[in-house]
């Protein structure tokens, strides 16, 4: 089979994903859209009459919404990790999967970015969080971790979007050349007049390298900054130097798990098996196992370092409360999902049976959500003055918003799938040409 025909077959498979959507697609889209709509309506209640709709109360001033924020920022991590870091490490297995994870990243950041605004008492003043010259001569407090957040998240959104769009330009060009009608016009637009001359490639590949170089430390920084939202406080259970690496690892774990959760059905639905092979999936599973063990280590460190403290130590008291108090079931469920579950991936059987694999990965995502919930809620519920201890239980409005975000995410994703090339065509071609060269080498 000649290189050219294999090039063509790749394009065909990718173009097939843009084919006329089936009933399943429409159902999925309708479901996610309506879930999102309900969440949006639920939030409108809060805008209209205040946060009393939530289960929040002193001392638990943060709950579901912030949990969701951290969760989605976490999801957003794998994308850039896979595309940028693995690119720098020349990990070839990334080629097939990085486009999907990049799309995921951008949409996840778009989701995460909502929450800091949603949870505000006066969301209509959210723009006060940005430093802009104003008539009141007021700026923002750069000492506040929340401002670090604003910068980290916006930067991350910008860079990862650029990364995605620039990376797709050559593919759009390829699609453009074979598309008609609105698609042709759209792709012509999105390919930024790409023609694939050696000259263009020369600068493009260089620039791409730099994007990767920028994105790599950014990935690490963003979730560290998010972790500082908590670590920079004085609250027992939050104030911990371990948080940055711990959060980054957690983010990657949840992110990769999410990638798998999306890839597995995707390659079934769009018959991408020969592009996204079992080998790719295996590599991702290894990532899951690796990060999961890091997480396990972090949990252990936190607990083992505080347990020796005297029983009156608030720090210790908080951790004991986390493990034995009102929220203990959630804690142990989290341990099961994040520490035990991923170990199942050691067995090939689990990795190869889609159902089992999905189960493990979804469990990890549940676990990671719980992790953030536990960190935020249990610490707040058990601060230094026992007289103020009080638990927090999310109300239906908060759940509606939480799930609404999933609706929003998958809505974007489903639309994206029908427009974006979900596998990088040009890089696949490069791969093939490379393999071809090797075969030729053997032949002689």
């Amino acid at each position: 089979m000649s290189t050219a025909s294999r090039f063509r077959s790749i394009e065909d498979t990718v173009r097939a994903t843009h084919g006329k959507p089936g009933a399943g697609y429409w159902v999925a889209l309708a479901v996610s859209a309506s879930v999102f709509a309900f969440g949006a309506w639920a939030y409108s209640l809060i805008v209209r009459s205040g946060l009393h709709w939530t289960g929040l109360r002193r001392p638990g001033m943060w709950g579901n919404l912030i949990t969701d924020f951290v969760f989605w920022v976490g999801i957003a991590h794998s994308g850039t990790l896979i595309s940028a870091i693995l690119f720098l490490f020349r990990a070839r297995f990334r080629t097939a999967v990085y486009r999907v994870s990049e799309m995921m990243t951008v949409f996840a950041v778009l989701t995460a970015g909502l929450y800091p605004v949603l949870h505000l008492g006066r969301p209509w003043f959210a723009y006060w969080l940005f430093p802009y010259p104003n008539e009141r001569a007021l700026w923002v407090n750069f000492r506040s971790p929340l401002i670090w957040d604003v910068f980290a998240v916006t930067t991350y959104l910008t860079v990862s979007s650029i990364f995605l769009v620039v990376g797709m330009a050559p593919d759009f060009a390829a699609l453009r050349d074979r598309a008609e009608g609105w698609r042709r016009r759209l792709y012509a637009l999105l390919s930024f007049g790409w023609r694939g001359t050696d000259e263009q490639w020369r600068h493009y590949t260089r620039a791409y390298l730099f994007f990767a170089a920028f994105a790599t430390p950014l990935v690490v920084s963003v979730h560290s900054v998010v972790s500082w939202d908590f670590a920079a406080s004085v609250l027992p259970g939050w104030h911990s130097t371990l948080f940055p690496p711990y959060f980054v690892a957690g983010a990657i774990l949840s992110g990769v798990a999410m990638v798998i959760t999306i890839l597995v059905p995707l390659r079934k639905a769009f018959h991408l098996e020969e592009l996204i092979t079992q080998r790719h999936v295996d590599m991702l599973c290894r990532l899951v196992i690796l990060t999961s063990t890091i997480i396990t280590y972090s949990y252990a460190t936190e607990i083992l370092l505080t347990l020796p403290q005297p029983a009156t130590d608030p720090e210790r008291s908080t951790f004991v409360y986390r493990m034995t108090g009102d929220y203990a079931p959630l804690f142990w469920l989290m341990v099961a999902c994040n520490c035990i579950g991923p170990l199942l991936l050691y067995w090939r059987k689990v990795r190869e049976t889609a159902a089992a694999l999905l189960a493990v990965c979804i469990a990890v995502n549940v676990g990671m959500w719980l992790e953030r919930f536990n960190i935020i809620v249990t610490s707040l519920a058990h601060d230094r003055l026992p007289f103020d201890w009080r638990t927090y239980v999310p109300r239906w409005v908060e759940w509606a918003i939480t799930f609404g975000a999933f609706g929003w995410f998958f809505m974007l994703f489903l639309v994206g799938l029908k427009i974006f090339p979900s596998v990088s065509i040009s890089e696949m071609k490069e791969e093939i040409a490379h393999e071809g060269a090797l075969e030729a080498g053997h032949a002689h």
Partner: protein, 973 residues
Amino acid sequence: MSDRAQGGLPRRTFLKIAGAAGLAAGCSPKAATQKLVPLLVPPEDIVPGVPLYYRTVCRECPAGCGVTARTREGRAVKLEGNPEEPIGRGALCARGQAAVQALYHPDRFRGPMRRGADGRLSPVGWDQAEDQLAQAIAAARARGPGRVRLVTRAEPGAAGDVQRALLAAVGGRPADRLVLEPLDPAPVRAAGAALFGRPEIPALDLAAAHTVVSFGADFLESWVSPVEYTRQFAAGRGRIGDDRTRLVWVGPRLSLTGVSADRWLRVRSGGELPLALGLLRWVVDPGNAVAGLAPEVAALAPALLRLSPADLAARAGVAAADIEGLARELARRRPSALLGPGPSSQGPDATALAAVLLLLDLAVGNFGRTMWYGLDPAEEVPSTAAEAAALVEAMAAGQVDVLLAVNADPLAALPAALKAGEAAARVPLVVSFALRPDATAARAHLILPDHHTLESFGDVSPRAGVLNLAQPVMTPLFDTRQAVQVLLEVAGRLQLPAPLAPSADPYDLLQDRAGKRVQQAAAGPGADPAAAWREALQRGGAWSDAAPARRLPQLARDAAARFLALGPAPAPAAAGEVDLVLFPTALHGDGRSGELPWLQEIPDTLTSVSWSPWAEISPATAGRLGVRSGDLLALAGAAGRAEVPAYVFPGIRDDAVAVRLGSAEARALMPAGLDPVSGARAYAGSRVALSAAGRREPLPLLEGSPYQHGREIVQTVTAAAPAARRADLTHQMYPEPRHPDHRWAMAIDLDRCTGCEACVVACFAENNVPVMGAEAARMGRYMGWLRIERYLGDEPGGALDVQLLPMLCQQCTNAPCETVCPVYATYHTPEGLNAQVYNRCVGTRYCSNNCPYKVRTFNWRDPEFRAPLPMQLNPDVTVRSRGVMEKCTFCVQRIRYAEGQARDEGRPVADGEIVPACAQTCPAQAIVFGDANDPASRLSRAARAPRGFRALEEVNTQPAITYLARVRRAEEP
């Protein structure tokens, strides 16, 4: 902030209601287009934006403290004590301050009403109303004496005279006037009468007492004159040595007063008398050779020695050693004061108890040193429960044609068992002078709403030598009329031989009585009576320190004997039966102030319950019944039954259950029984069957965990170890921020604080803290800036060691809340305040998360102030809208005001010139505020005390608030 939240609503409502002019200028601008309505004729001394103070008197309880009312733009915004007045001395209790909410209560009657045939109330003109009443009275008068009855609160002043005169004029007997003061300690009067021929409540000077023993007398909450007693008691606290006043609490339940006690003798309900007898017996026992014993008491020894200590101890339910220990202390630490009985110990033997206590006081020589006879004017002795019962009988028997309820709500105050409601139904004309709907008004045919005290003239002399004057601090809000005036006008419509008073105008009346007195007192060479009267009105009264009768009361021969014997031992309790303890609280007293928002919203100090009644049971009892706090308990007694949510409280005996007086539940359970000697209601001495109702009604609780979990948050010191533990903060990362001119700070003496909640009410009033209601309270969304944290001990199930910690913003130097705010809504001012700029706050709520003291409250929804409550709002403080964080500001508006004054006069701010609302009103003067930069300031000196410690100091927030550790009693030898 939001149009709805404030500004707009208050002002519009005010214009509608008061129609006052020039107000918009004073109130905050907000509405779209605003009208400025000029005054036609400017009243002198009302300047928009400038506070104006009036002196008047508090009528929320018989103590009759003096009041200073702060008014703005002609409306009362806050009540404070009158510093010149000898009883309150500038302090005012929770109930006293809440009176302003009765003034602005949304439910107030807008004018006189008459109940039509359809049973519905409809407005009526004053003339018609008074005519109707006059005719009814005339008719009743014709049918003989006793057909017209009048129920009133104690009125030691002109109002009382008028009432008596009116009844007399229509041929009534003195008994036709029922003075309803449910908590009046009649047994003390009766005992005084029996022993010394003095039917009085002795005046106290607890400051002189070394040991105070209270037999159920909650003198720091509601007993007789709580503000005065608290001040006296606190004077002897805050010291380490042996001269520190010690308090011993005797009773089956640890009341809030008991919390201030150094020792709690857990007698069983009804065990107070045996205990008192035990003390007396020990004291007079020649074997113990107590020196300096009053001979006439010593003479009682033979009778007393007949009692066996063991038996007494058994009857009291305490160890004989405890009785002896206390007796020794009384013998050693003189003078002392033995107080009682109070409602929770006022049983069928109340007079005997009172008598024995008086004998003890006499024995150890307390008379003339800590207590005196001769200061109780006794001009308005409240009626006894027996008389109240008689009235109800008369009503039920149809012997009453006209019932006048003046500032009294008999239907709510009397036990349900008396069925006063049904009885009232048989009275042809019930007239209520209530300000707003109450139980009596609900059955009244005619409602003639009285002025609020703050709208009326009057005089109160709670004690010989004390004449407190009430005067209007603002024009009446509604078409109401002062009760005395109505009564006089009604009298005017009866063809009486002579008018009761020269004029029906309350001011004339005041002058005619109080005015004359003052002018006589001022009479003499070179004196100007008129000026004296003017001055009296300005200062809020006329006070002469009438020298109390120094001579000791003479014990009447053989009078004591009858009190020295014990009745038969009470029958053992049947299974499931426990003693019923009814107690008043500092916030509700006898419950007369009704459902005022602040008093409802602010949690009870001991239980942290708000908005709901509760029944206190011990953990053991709870375990036996298998209930936890919030489960409904069914209480069934001889008087009646009630279902109340349980509150599990280690501060009560296993064989007792306690319910707050003034609640409908307490009324239902209140025994109709009396103390036969004094005729007082026997609140104690009855039993109820206790069972779990099987339903649950979660209590709105403020507390999370009531235990300190070994964290030593609230510290205590002893004579042995007089210094509090301080964290080592020598290693600092940053230099401390400089405070160039001032550093405002506060010191709170936990040895003085009694947890009376007066400071909390003051804070609500001063800072427009919103009342969010029961649902929010249940949800834990209490908005108070200042809360009194109450710890029951170290660990659950551990020793009971109640500690109070008033918790408010600590105004930290290194405030964790400040760094995390993204928009500088909170920051550290050059004067050391932790500022909160509401209009900059976007509501991330991170500051609250990062606050170790959790003193920041968040506006989950827009607060609602029902008209005319907005008129009480302090114009110097915004009402915060939903979505913003708020917290204690050290009353920055007061700081600003004082600094402005000082700048005008070109002088520095003087020490003690700035007083936050909480410190101002504290009856115990436990709160000191001042400039920490000035080493000589009262604050600096207080904060330097070795007892001083800071909350969670190890977090290195460097709070501006120093707590002075409570002093634990040194063990008795």
